[in-house]
Structure formats: structure tokens, C-alpha cells
């Protein structure tokens, strides 16, 4: 797969904009309860987690489907449903360990994140950049740089008396 959705939970403010735009994209109605992403919130701890399909390499939903209606699109890196084959048995809802497979009452079918055909709306709209859609081969690099920046600043503070004056903090984490 080329790209994947990656979360930064520190950045998520729990605003639920992702839920709204996801629902509009998939149903043409604004209704977070019909979205494929849902922000699970722990207000008393200030912790927010946008939960959605993990697009598993060895997906439980794919494995359990009696009609082989679920398949992987390797190019987009996502797991998709072929509604022509789906019989609505809902075994996939039971199988998914992330609760990512849900059911749309109005459309009468199971639904899951399909990465919006390569243009995920949640990523487009998230004001905090808490959800990103990035190249799988360097998915951890941004976080690595951000953590490295913090460490670099610590080392720089320790090296204050160093004659060579390694002023590491001058490096912006956004390079």
C-alpha cells in the first residue's frame, strides 16, 4: 500500500468535525452517527481518540465474510465492501476487534471507512492535523523528528558550556 491514515492523539481536540464531513461524504446528510469515524472521548482526562477502520493487512472482516464480499485495494491501502455480493449478515460487525464496521440504518447496509477513494475528508478538514494521510514508507518520520527535536533541545541545554557551542535548538522541527 502506498499511503495510510495516521493519528496524533496529542493534537486531537475532540471537535468531531471529522465525523460530520465523513457522514456527508458517504450519505449526503450531516449526521455524525452515520460516519465511519467516531471520536471516543475521556473529557475528565482531556484525551480524545478518533476511532476508525485500521485497514488491517489480515482483516478479520474479510476473513469472516461468507460471500467474500470484502476485499483489499492494495493501491489505496484499504479494505472495501462489494455491495453487490454483500448479503448483510453482519458477521463482519461481530468480527472487527476495533468496532470499525458499523451499520447504516437508513441505507440498510454495513459501512466502514473506505478512505474516500483516496481523498479522505477527515484529513482534509481536521483543523488540528490530528489525522493525516501519509506515505506508508515514512509514516513514523514526523513523530521521530518531533521527539528528536525535544531531545535535541535537552542536549543543547546540557551542552551550554561546550566550546563548540552546538546550538541544536535552532533547527526547526518542521524541516
Amino acid at each position: 500500500m502506498t499511503k495510510m491514515l495516521i493519528l496524533d492523539t496529542d493534537k486531537c481536540a475532540g471537535c468531531r468535525l471529522c465525523e460530520m464531513v465523513c457522514s456527508i461524504k458517504h450519505t449526503n446528510k450531516c449526521n455524525p452517527s452515520r460516519a465511519c469515524v467516531h471520536v471516543v472521548k475521556w473529557d475528565e482526562f482531556g484525551f480524545f481518540l478518533p476511532m476508525r477502520c485500521q485497514q488491517c493487512d489480515d482483516a478479520a472482516c474479510l476473513a469472516v465474510c461468507p460471500r467474500k464480499a470484502i476485499y483489499r485495494n492494495e493501491e489505496q491501502g484499504c479494505v472495501l465492501i462489494d455491495y453487490d455480493k454483500c448479503i448483510g449478515c453482519k458477521a463482519c460487525i461481530i468480527a472487527c476487534p476495533f468496532g470499525a464496521m458499523s451499520y447504516d440504518v437508513a441505507l440498510r447496509r454495513v459501512v466502514k471507512c473506505d478512505l474516500c477513494n483516496g481523498d479522505p475528508q477527515c484529513v482534509k478538514f481536521c483543523p488540528m492535523e490530528a489525522i493525516e494521510y501519509i506515505d506508508s514508507s515514512c509514516v513514523n518520520l514526523k513523530k521521530m523528528r518531533e521527539a528528536g527535536f525535544k531531545i535535541a533541545n535537552l542536549i543543547s541545554a546540557l551542552c551550554e558550556n561546550d566550546k563548540n557551542n552546538h546550538n541544536l535548538s535552532k533547527f526547526s522541527k518542521h524541516i
Binding site: A13, I24, K29, D43, E44, G46, F125, P127, M128
Partner: protein, 611 residues
Amino acid sequence: MTYLYQGNILFVNLSNGEIKAVPTESYSDKFLGGRGINIKILYEQLTPGINALDPESVLVFGTGPLTGTPAPSCGRIHLMAKSPITGFEGESSAGGYWAPELKYSGFDHLSVKGKAEKPVYIWIRNGQVEIRDASHIWGKGNYETTVSIREELGDPEIKVISIGPAGENMVNFASVLTDLGHAAGRTGMGALMGAKNLKAIAVRGFKDIEIADIEGFMNYSLEVHKQIQKDPTRLELSKYGTSRLYDHGMINEHYYAATDNFRRFEWPEAPSMHEFFEKHLVKKVGCFGCPMRCMDFYSIPGVGKAITSCNVYYGTIWAAKIKDMRIWLELTTLCQEAGLDTQSVGNMLGWLMELYEKGIITEKDTDGIRMLWGNREAIIETTRKMALRQGLGDLLAEGIEQAAKQFGSDAENCAVHIKGLPLLSANFLSFTGAPLSTVVGPRGDPMSGDLGEIAGPETPCEGSPCAQILMEDTLAATDSMGVCQWVGPLMGLPFGMQQQARLFSLGSGIEMTPEGLMEYGCRIRNLEMAFDVREGRTKGDYKFPKRLLNTPAPDGKFKGQQLKSEKLDQLEKEYYRLRGWNVATGVPRRETLEKVGLNGIANNLEKLGNT
């Protein structure tokens, strides 16, 4: 097909249990939504002249057409009722996540009348309404109430708006809260709910909001979101909240805070809010669909846990001279759980501290507490007693105006309130628009219109009636659309009349222009004044406090300057003249009411003799 609106307004009568729904469109054509429809419902449903806490009083909750959509920052709920503090319009709004859920549950507005025989809460689930027993949660704090209701009804996603013990005890300045700390604090809305035995309203919904031009609405919403995200004000608020704005660095340059109960504008020992923020902030949090994330979430075990922004810092720290920020967090947590307006509490604590300093009150009056500036016992114990109406708290709970009467004229002269509303601990010489805004606005609020700019030699602190009118109408329209004032006109961010009108047009399929929105704003302001007039408001009722007039500032940037009462009076008259209201009384003239399409209201006022 109804676009943007859900199309139903819920009316609940707690005296007789009657529940009915009325089409929103019978109100939205002329009053748009949010604050606009709220005032129309209130005008219609409330019997003029009754006591604000009478069982027949009316409390309205309003969302706007954009609420619950991806338009930026459309998560606020607007409350409106006759204020138990002023006797005129009471209005307060709260952020968080309750308003969109009310809409998803099927209703644009909720109007509550009557009084339940014993404590109840209203439960709205996807259009189904139930009035449930609340005796097991009566007495609980606000967040506790939310947790209890979620457990009782078996759904952790239920959104709750509630009162704490202060509202239950009908404390004059009690607030209404949702989530962890999103408060509708001003004008005593919590007392309304307490008077109705209404502990909370729980909502949960799964209904669609329809959008007319989906692609257009989505594309333009994204554009407005991006514009807001680039704005430097947004960058500051999103990263630092208001901690740097109310830090002594900024205040000691622009002098917009008052201390010593409005006697001084310099406080060298002011604590560093920013230091506290850096050390103790757990997370920056925000409201539904909002790119600002302006709220600060603090949690210190053993001290407290609270969400805060702007006036929660502003109204307390300088007011009571709280040097130790941990005491501030303890106070804020207490106010949020008990449901008390922090601005009122801060103001009243500062007032009591001055009275004690001068010997006007002693330990005899304060149940043995030494009312010292910044003192933890004085602050926490007094506030707790206010919420529970214990000891001195019982008198204070009646509000500063009543409490001052008890302590005598010296105490009354020190009380800084407007029509009973304790004023924000601000320096009214600093923002040019604040004094006029407080006197002519809908609820005695310095930020209800044109805040102006920081006064300087070229910009005296006077206020501009014309700017005040334009801003009031803009904010009234904003509040009626369901948009948060902070991402729009109030902070100068790019979600103003133009953007709001365009989003409304795309979303509803009904053409709206910025001028059209301003017309709604003007009509709403006229109806708000008509409501107040019907309740007996006349010029001079929102009387600017004595202490803040004709008194040269003793220190700071504005040392020696003063607000002159004749000047303020002149500005108020000019405001009425430009509004088309009677210059001597502030009563909207018939021609003006007819011009804005309120002929029925004009007739009604005439019949009642209020002209």
C-alpha cells in the same frame, strides 16, 4: 424537505407535563434562529411583569440553522429568559457539544415553562421526550450529574446540560453547564432551572441534517476553515489560549484589568498565568467543529480539574487578588461543579474584601472568616457558602445589590454592578467601546457590541454609538445563525456576515446576503429592547456604577483619566437616536418597529401603554 433546520421547536410544560412540537418555520422567516427565535418565543410565551422565578416563567434553549453542520464553530447553545438579576432580558450561551446533539435529536429550540412538583430532568432521545425523576441526582455537581445520567440511561454518548447545587438553591447568579466546564454563566439562568425543579436536560440524537447544495457547502466550509486557521489570533488562541492575553506582561502594557475592587489598575504581584499554563496545562480543548480550540484544561490532583478561557481568568484573579494560581484552580473547579458564574463570584469576593479592609464588615458578618485579599479560606469558603446558601452565603446568594443594602450605604457605594449584574473586573478606561456597550447592550455586558480598541491619546475612551449598533446587529445575527462570536466579528476573524450569509444560502437553498443578515440583527435588537421595555426598562436603568464614573484613575497608563457621566449619557442618547428609539426613554418608536417588520410588537407595546 427542510434544509439546515430540523423543523421542530419543542415546548415542555413542567407544571402539567404537556409536551408539544411547533414548526420552526413559523418563527425562522422573521427571526432566523438561535437568539432571534429565542427572544420571539420568550416575548410570546412570558406573561409580562411576573417574577423572573415564577413557575410560569419561560426558559428557552436555542440552536441556529448552522448548528451541527461542518461550518466552523457551530456548537453553541443560547439560553434566554427573564433574568432574576436584572428583571430584563437574561441571555447566556455555552459551548461544548450539547447544542448539536439537541439538533440531531430532532429539535431546533426547546422552550420550558412551568414548575415540576419534584426534581426532574428532561430526556430527549431522537425525537422522543420524557420527563424523568431527578431526586437521586439533585444535589450533585454538574459533571457528576452528567456521569450519573449516562450510567442510568446506559449510553456514554448522551450530552447533558445541568445545574449544580447553586442553581438548585436559586442563587441569583447561578450558571448552567454542559460537558466539563462549558458554562452559560451570566444573568442567572441557573436560577431559572432551579426554580422549575429542572436539574438537567439530557439529549441523544441520530437524525440527519439536510444540506441543499452539498458540494458547495462543503467546499466553502473548508475554505472558511482554512482562512480561520491561518489567522494569527487563531494561532495564538489555539496554542496558548488566553493565558498570554491575561498575563501581567500584556496587562501591564495595556491596563485592561482592575484590582482592589476596581480601585487600582496596577498589580505588580499578579501571578503569571502563562507560567501556570506551561506547568499545569493538560490539554488545549475546544467545542464542536471548532478550529480555535481556545479552552485550557487543567487538572491538578487534590486541587481541581477545570476547563477555562478568557473571563474565567479575567473575572477572578485580579478581582480577588489571587496570587496563588492553585487557589484559582480550586475556585474555578468549585464554581463549575456548583454552577456559579465566576465573574459574579470574583466581583463579589473583591467587594467583600474591600468592605472587610475598611471595617464596613467584620468577622461578625462573615461567619468568622477573615476576608483578606487572595486568602484561600476567604475565597473558597465564601464561594461554597454562596452555592449552598449557608451563613453569609444566603445573603450573598440574593445578589450584590440586595446584599449591599443589608450592609449599608458605604457598602452600596463600593458595589460595582450594573442593574445587579456584578461587572467583570476590567478597567473600563481601557477598551474604548466597553462603557457604552455595558449601558445600552442587551444584558449589561461590555462585550455585547463594539469593544473598540485600547484607548490612547488619539483614541479616548468614549465609544462610538454607530459602531456599537453595527456590532450589536452583527453579533445578534451571528448568535442567531448558531456561530460562535469568537471566530467571527468579535475577534475580527474571517467568519463574518459575508461568510455566514453565503453558507446559509448554500446550506438552506434560500438566498441570504450580508445586508439581509444585518437586517435580522437589527430586528432582533429591536425585539429585545421591546421585551425589556415591556418589563419596565427605561433609560438610566442600566446605570453605570458610581465608582467607575467621574473618578480619575490613580495609576497605570490611564492615570488621571476618567469616564465622565455626561459624556456617557450623551453617547447613550446618540445611540437611541441612531436606533430610532425615543431619546429620553430608549423605547423603540413605532416607525422604527414598523420599519423592521415588528408591527405586531408595536401594537402590543402601545396597548400595554409602554411607549
